[in-house]
Amino acid sequence: MINRWKAQGGGLGVRALARLDAAFNGLYTWRFNPLYHSGALVVACFAVLLATGLYLLLFYRIGAPYESVAAIDAQWWGGRWIRGLHRYVSDLAVVAAILHGFRMFAQRRTWGPRALAWVSGLVLLGIFFVCGWTGYVMAWDVHGQALAVEGARLLDALPVFSEPLGRAFTGEESLPGAFFFMNLFAHIALPVGIALFLWVHVSRLARAQLLPPKRLLWGTVGLFAIAAVAWPPPLGPEADLLKLPATMPADWVYGFWLPVARAMAAGWVWVVGGSIALLALLVPVWTKPRAEKRPPPSWVNPRYCTGCEQCFLDCPYEAISMVDRDDGREGLVGWVDPAKCVSCGVCAGSCAPMGVGPPGRTGRDQLARVKDFLAEARPGSGDVVVVGCMHGAAGSVGSTAVATGLAAVDGLAGAPASAEAQEPRVFPVGCAGNLHTSVIEYLVRAGAGGVMVAACPPRDCRSREGVKWFNERVHHGREAELQDRVERRRIAVVYAAAGEGRVLRDGVERFRSRILAMEEAPAERDFDVGVECELDEAVP
């Protein structure tokens, strides 16, 4: 029952995400799709918050919090829009963090070696919330008052404080400067926690991409700066503990819980909030597939390993290390830490002698599968064979999507097949980075007119760097490179995310037309650069 729900829930999430991604790719292209960069956008927001926060700190006074914020707001040339940017970007950080979390959840990148990133990500989100609340209390307007009073009520339900915190906000006495000092201290100290947990969050990633592309980064900052200038956030009336807050401009990103919490007993708020937090923290446990469905981690066959270190360099999760050999041969041998390996298979694509990879997805396994694939129907010189990542559009397009060896890849067993004759033949792989270049060579040498690799957009690669390494291997001689003898005109790459079947079909059609044109021009095909150059030089 739970497993069926898991499968359906995950499927719904993935489908919704695929549609959103496709729509955003259509508008912004995959390079600048903000949904692909949601995590990096949070870091960018954090940097903007630090910069704008430092400026605001210069003018903030704990002895007169509201007056000092009002004075900042009166600086029409600086303070007002910088405060606005600080506030809007803090909201964007939370929205982007939630989108990032949803992406990871929908794509089931939450369990096993990724559990640390999931849990630390939730802690980061929590720290962002607390930091935001202390920021609103700093301004000490009616919104800050509402957050402080409600927060104190909730904290008083815990058997921690000897004197109820709520009594500080009854109006008996004006709030002491010490309160605002403590609040300011928390607001400054919490970003240290954010930096620390950010480091933990990406600690298992090799070459973590912390910032979005420059155009997206500055475009986002620019847009929010314009919003802060044109539509600065209002400062509410000053807090008055002997007055009920009237209608006020409230931040629903940070204060969404206030109306609900106010209507409930403090104990119940803790029970409900704690249950939601616990459920989210336990996502790595309840989304973890059963043992038989879990993709097995990579494994190094020491017999084939030459100790070249390429898998160690390419692994996007730093799961591979080089250790001394114990088989009597000299040198090093790769070793995969199963606790860190997410079974992306990028190492399989990096290994020239095909000695590493997840069982069933090594280069040797791929070659065995491609032989079976060709035995079913040999492609002609005008045919295009699609080698497709099953997480992208190729997962839902194609006529022979036999997912042999992929049964354990994130539930992608048996990629959907279509009986439409015009559909391209798809040879499925777990990731473009998992694909061994020998498979491409084999297909071309077997007579295929062209091989089109259908990869996910690079910033949406489930293996993080699979697409990047694939391109390096095909075009820039990175180990295990596509041999020079393979005609590059017969190789094409299309980036098509899961919801972009049309992009894939269009790409295949264009490539097929190119291949057919090449076939119809035999003189072009027989052109040999080396021979022609020698002939040119021979001419006096």
């Binding site: 259509g26 508008l27 912004y28 506030r87 809007y88 909201d91 964007l92 929205v95 509402a146 008083d156 000897s162 004197e163 109820p164 709520g166 009594r167 009854t170 109006g171 008996e172 475009g219 847009l223 929010f224 314009i226 919003a227 539509w231 956030p233 209002p234 008055d240 503990l241 002997l242 007055k243 009920l244 807050p245 009237a246 209608t247 006020m248 401009p249 409230a250 931040d251 629903w252 990103v253 204060g255 206030l258 109306p259 106010r262």
Partner: protein, 175 residues
């Protein structure tokens, strides 16, 4: 191409405006009441001591140097809180001293929704003493306030204990 770029720009603007709007949604968090009567004070507890005479058998099992004829247990007495608003009982409760051992001061923090206008209020806060228990000298055991509170919409009337250990009313007009 131009249409796509225009749509992309419009969507970016809409998303920015949406997030900016979420940061300033007009909200009324105090809409559930016209006004509020707030009781908030901290009073020192009333220490009480209950003693009993030990039996001969009990004394016999004790070491010689611990054979005190009386066994006494001291504690802080709880308080009974009675609040009557416009002639109707709003609260009848027992307030215990704070702390794991119940030896901390006694705190009260309650809010009562009230309508704008005049409200009759009667508050009695009295230590609950066991029969025969004697509070120490100078320790207040009863706090009481009776009167009318005149509140405007949005006001909070605060009933608290002043330095002279009397319940006093503070309003926005007379803080």
């Amino acid at each position: 191409m131009i249409a796509r770029r225009a749509a992309a720009a419009l969507l970016a603007l809409a998303m920015t405006a949406g997030i900016a709007w979420l940061s300033r949604v007009p909200t009324n968090f105090g809409a559930d009441a016209d006004a509020v009567i707030r009781l908030s004070w901290r009073v020192e507890g009333v220490p009480v001591e209950a003693c009993r005479t030990r039996t001969e058998e009990e004394l016999a099992v004790l070491p010689v140097h611990m054979r005190s004829p009386q066994e006494c247990a001291s504690a802080i007495a709880p308080f009974a809180l009675d609040v009557v608003v416009d002639g109707k009982a709003a609260v009848r409760d027992t307030v215990f001293p704070k702390g794991v051992r119940g030896d901390r001061p006694v705190y009260v923090l309650r809010n009562f929704p009230a309508g704008a206008g005049r409200t009759a209020l009667s508050v009695r806060f009295e230590a609950v003493l066991a029969e025969g228990a004697e509070p120490g000298d100078g320790v207040a055991t009863i706090y009481a306030w009776d009167g009318e509170v005149d509140l405007a919409a949005g006001d909070v009337a605060l009933l608290t204990v002043d330095g002279a250990k009397n319940l006093v009313l503070r309003t926005p007009e007379a803080p």
